[in-house]
Every structure is written in C-alpha cells, then in structure tokens.
Symmetry: C2
Subunit: 140 residues, 2 copies
C-alpha cells in the first residue's frame, strides 16, 4: 500500500500525471512527501482525494467549488448546507445548459433538414447564420 508512484496514482484515480502535478500546484491536493530521488510518494488518502476531484470535475463542478467541497469533507461535523447549495447551484446550471442546448439543437435541425444540397448561394445553413431573423427562436 505504501510508496504509490505518480504513475500508479494516475492509473488508480483516473487523473493524468500532469494534471495531478497541476492540482498540487494550485493547492487542490496537498503536496505529497518525496522519496530519496525527489519523487512524489502518494498515500491512500491522496488517491481518495484525486478520485473525488475527478468525479466532481466530470460532473462539471468548477475547481473553486471542489475546493469548498473538499474543505467541507475535511470537517465532518459541519452542516452540509453548503455542499447542498453547491450541488443545487450546479444542478440549476445543468438544467439551464440543457434548455439552451435543446433550443440550439432545434435550430441546427432546421438548418440541416432544409439543406437542399445545392450551391452555397441557396444554402439554408449559411443563410440562417447570416440572417438571424430566419431563426426559429428569437431570444438570442
């Protein structure tokens, strides 16, 4: 269990090597101790932290939010209201993003569906981009 190299840490956590170093640099991961050859030696706790970070990043949490979540995790007797709020804010973000992507998809679908595969001069794709009035939505 001891003497986890950066390569192993990367493999086990799913975070790439330069990214691990980057997380250390920005203070998201505590600086691990070094062995005789100045190489990083990671602990199990570092792996857990890296996995936490990776998962949170996959869910789209920003590094600052993750920093707060990690701080919370380190003080287990505090109220989890803050963690809850961060997750809710993220959920709201995601919902907003889904809504705008769905609208966007509709617009792109009209574009490609009405393409007559002729010349650029009568291309709906170009036309719609050029003239926003031809959009099916007017709120952007």
């Amino acid at each position: 269990m001891a003497k986890i190299s950066i390569k192993e840490a990367a493999h086990d956590s799913g975070v790439k090597i330069p990214t691990i170093r980057y997380y250390e640099q920005i203070g998201l991961l505590p600086s691990p101790r070094r062995d005789g050859g100045n190489r990083r030696v990671f602990e199990e706790s570092d792996l857990r932290r890296l996995t936490f970070i990776r998962h949170a990043r996959e869910l789209g949490f920003e590094v600052d939010a993750i920093r707060t979540l990690l701080d919370l995790q380190d003080t287990p007797d505090r109220s989890c209201a803050e963690a809850d709020a961060i997750a809710r804010a993220r959920l709201a973000d995601v919902n907003q993003k889904i809504r705008s992507l769905v609208a966007l998809r509709a617009e792109l679908e009209v574009m490609v569906d009405s393409c007559t595969h002729g010349h650029v001069s009568e291309c709906r794709v170009i036309e719609v981009l050029a003239d926003h009035g031809k959009c099916i939505f007017d709120r952007h």
Copy 2:
C-alpha cells in the same frame, strides 16, 4: 450608412468592441479602412459578417468552423456540402452533450434529493463524489 464606428458596429452586431478587434486580429474579419485619426471605419458588409459570426458562435461553432463557413459564403457557386457537414457535425456534438448533461442531471438530482440536511459526515453529496461506486451510472 457610411462611417460606422467600432462602437456602432459593436452595438449593431452584438459583438463587443474588444472582440471585434480580436476577430480582426485573428483574420476572421477583414481589416477595415481607417479614418484620419487612425480609427476603424466599418462597412455594412462588416456588420453582416459580424452578425454571422456572433450567431454561429452562439450556436457553438468553433472559430475554425466559422472561418470555413465564411469562406464558403464568399464563393456562392460552390456546393454547400461542406457547410452541411459542418452543421451536421455540430448537431452531433450538441446531441452528445445533451445526452451527457441529462445523465449528469440525474446524478445531481439523486445527490440533492437524498441530502438529509444534517452534518457533512453523512452528506450524500460529498459521499457520492468521494465514492464513485455510489453513482447511479457506471459509464464514467
């Protein structure tokens, strides 16, 4: 109609002033002529181009894709197959993104729904992030 200042161009096109200069710098917008005081003087065609760019950016097209689309627009007798392909690729992107955001939303919803508003120690939000096995999805 003549003598459109950068401020007017920004207002009319919806592209911010520094962004207009940036687009000129990266060659997305032709360098406009200058007046006596070295100020940019835009034409109607520049406004159309800027609007085109803004709309395409809003739809999530990358600058390189927009460059190609603009080139196509400038040569109207070419086949629009390329424009069609770019739009289709973008549509596929958007669909993929929607799928992953919907999955993500489900995961976030489980998180916040099962929050008991107690202490961090039994916080589901933190827990799910820490242990990916608790995820409802296993494909990330």
